[in-house]
Amino acid sequence: MRLVIPLAITFVTGMIMVLHFFVPHQPIKLLGDNLQDWFMIVTAASIFLGALNLMHVHFRKIKLKLKNWKYSPVTLTGFMVMFIAGLIYGVTEAKPFDFMFMNMVAPMGSTMFSLLAFFVASAAFRAFRASNWRATLLLTSAFIVMLGQVPIGAMIWDKIPLAKVWLMTFPNTAGQRAVMIGAAMGVVSTSLRMIFGIERSYLGGTD
């Protein structure tokens, strides 16, 4: 019983969505529209679950004095300050919540990912080797794109941007498309397995 009801829900909701695609008329339309409305609300709850879990992890870190526990109050304070500002002032422009987002969260988010520029350069220096002819091909393709994407490429030789456009339009499209079709078939088969209850690992076990 523990798994039967969730599997039944998966089957019914999955079939509603499939039918909604092929038969976008009543009563399937009504069922599909309602299910989509409900889906938004349940996924919003999953964001709450993530936040609650974050709180739980950090309170536990403080309680048990685990590694780096001294920084957990920073996370908790940051969360509470932002949360309270949002509840009081809302998300409106130029209010405290928006101010903190634009001047604290946004710069930190951008910076966090910009760190990758340094690591990708270091990794390219250490690991990008033309060790065989296929790796050399990969390297050549990367160089053409890197030069073709910036103005200096055209300054070196005006044919480089053209080569880049051709490379992206034909060999790149062919390779990406093969990956895309393969992945799509994987999605289709996994979705079918989920709808029919063959794949049930997302419910926490195979029993």
């Binding site: 009801i5 969730p6 829900i9 998966t10 909701t13 999955g14 695609f21 299910l35 409305d37 938004m40 609300i41 996924t43 919003a44 709850a45 679950l49 993530g50 920073v74 908790l76 969360f79 509470m80 300050v81 932002m82 949002g86 509840l87 998300v91 919540f97 101010f99 634009m102 969260v105 710069p107 988010g109 951008s110 910076t111 966090m112 990912f113 760190l115 520029a117 990708v120 296929r134 990969l138 393709s141 990367a142 794109v145 890197m146 994407q149 490379l167 034909f170 060999p171 062919a174 498309r177 093969a178 990956v179 079709i181 992945a183 799509a184 289709v188 979705s191 079918l192 709808i195 926490g204």
Partner: protein, 217 residues
């Protein structure tokens, strides 16, 4: 108080804290990292409340004109099931909500991926390889051969030996060119992010220093 300058300084200070990681892990980095996690989580929660739960659930259940729309109790129950995961004794209830999310997503993805990422792509590969100039014909043949051989490479139900192996070898060659292009673009993306931060520090933050010191500007 000049809120604009305060905002710039807050942003610059936190940016520098995070960049300090490039030297080595340190308390400034850890402080900013933990602050970022907490504030981001709160941002997501607030937007879920303000932009989703209030207008799409609460105000539908209790419309402005008065009354009670009982059908909206059901998504509320499923949402509570999802939250039940946090308490070990009730965690099993979250399977109902998970079942709904997975089922709905699987139902949609199955048909959409098949239509857009499989059928439309196959259709896009059925192109003329006899019209146009020599270069166009060559390029179109390359596209068709690249897709077919690339798919053969991903077909693992048959051993890659003999003709299948040779075809798969052509496929992997095309894939290597595509991966090279992806690598080139990845380098570009990462550098672009760094440029954005440097533009902020050099063009927004640095000019505020003379202004604060009363040196004009």
């Amino acid at each position: 108080m000049n809120w604009e300058i305060l905002g710039i300084w807050l942003g610059a200070g936190l940016t520098l804290c995070l960049y300090s990681f490039l030297y080595r892990d340190n308390p400034f980095y850890k402080f900013a990292e933990h602050l970022f996690v907490g504030m981001s989580a709160a941002y997501w929660v607030i937007y879920s409340i303000e932009n989703v739960l209030i207008p799409n659930w609460w105000q539908q259940m209790f419309p402005a004109g008065g009354g009670f729309n009982w059908v909206w109790i059901f998504p509320g129950i499923f949402a509570l099931f999802m939250l039940a995961r946090i308490i070990p004794k009730t965690a099993g209830l979250s399977r109902m909500a998970l079942g709904m999310i997975i089922g709905t997503g699987a139902g949609l993805n199955m048909v959409s991926f098949f239509q857009t990422n499989a059928m439309a792509q196959v259709k896009g590969t059925i192109i003329s390889v006899s019209s146009g100039g020599v270069w166009i014909i060559f390029s179109n043949i390359l596209l068709v051969v690249g897709v077919v051989t690339g798919l053969v490479y991903f077909f693992f139900s048959k051993a890659h030996t003999g003709i299948v192996g040779k075809t798969a070898n052509v496929g992997i060659t095309i894939l290597m060119i595509a991966f090279g292009a992806s690598f080139g673009y990845t380098i570009m993306a990462r550098i672009s992010l760094l440029i954005g931060r440097c533009q902020f520090l050099l063009e927004d933050w640095l000019p505020t220093i003379p202004r604060l010191l009363g040196l004009g500007g």
